[in-house]
């Protein structure tokens, strides 16, 4: 699982580029998240648009990613795909995380530039 980061103003956006967060990749995911969130902006967004599958181990790694954040930092999840959203819903973890769809106009400033 590759995780790419961009800073948008006061927000760190982490984009997962792999298709799954499962038992085989959960520890690696959690470790990478810790390194990426240890320093930098307090507001962190994790974009999961490319993640088509998550199992309970992967869910545990996402929960751990939030729990291991330094005090005062927040984690928001963006763009859950249907199967991932189902796992969050069935485990009621959708009540613990802030979950949003990313703003489609982000980075689209050229529209008004002319």
């Amino acid at each position: 699982m590759e995780l790419q980061t961009e800073t948008h103003g006061e927000t760190l956006v982490i984009t997962a580029s792999g298709a799954r967060i499962d038992a085989a990749g959960a520890i690696d995911f959690k470790d990478k998240m810790r390194k990426l969130t240890e320093f930098g902006p307090d507001k962190i967004e994790l974009n999961l648009a490319s993640v088509e599958f998550i199992d309970s181990s992967g869910l545990g790694a996402v929960v751990a990613s939030m729990k291991q954040l330094p005090m005062g930092k927040t984690l928001c999840l963006l763009d859950l795909t249907p199967t991932v959203a189902k796992v969050f819903r069935l485990t009621r973890m959708d009540s613990v995380f802030e979950i949003r769809t990313s703003n489609a106009t982000d980075g689209d400033t050229r529209v008004n530039a002319s």
């Binding site: 799954r20 499962d22 038992a23 085989a24 599958f53 199992d55 309970s56 181990s57 869910l59 545990g60 790694a61 929960v63 751990a64 939030m66 729990k67 249907p82 199967t83 189902k86 796992v87 069935l90 485990t91 009621r92 973890m93 009540s95 613990v96």
Partner: protein, 169 residues
Amino acid sequence: MHRDNQLGSLYSKNTETDTNPRQYSELRLFFQSEPLAVRRALESILSGLGHLDLNQDDCGTVELVLAEVMNNIVEHAYAGERSGVIELHISGTSRGLFCTVIDDGLPMPDGNPPMGKQHDLSCSREDLPEGGFGWMLIRELADELGYERDGDKNKLTFLLNVERTILTS
């Protein structure tokens, strides 16, 4: 590929009958109880079920339940230094996908699959659970869960109620 041969074998067949040639299909896999082998087995299963044209929601259910069942075997039945083989059968029937999963690992605690309760999530961030969701998901998404200890083997059976119209058409 050599690696595929190490991790397991797969066959998929449609049993031809005069009355309803597409009603039954079977998938059988054997693979090592390791996380990467489970991941690879799930890929094989979903590709092996491709001819059923399951919708996206059903595909997610099939992959999730099978992943949780097999992860439990890796983590608990073959816990610690133990390792072994997981055997999986899937039969497509008019009622859904009937699954049988067999391993040679430790028996289920108390002789039954865990109930899998919902966690209380109204706790502080540092107390949120990071595990223990597997059986809750299995019981929520699978029907007719059965378990039997047969000698040194665990045999778990369940039905995945995918859209039956597809299987019988």
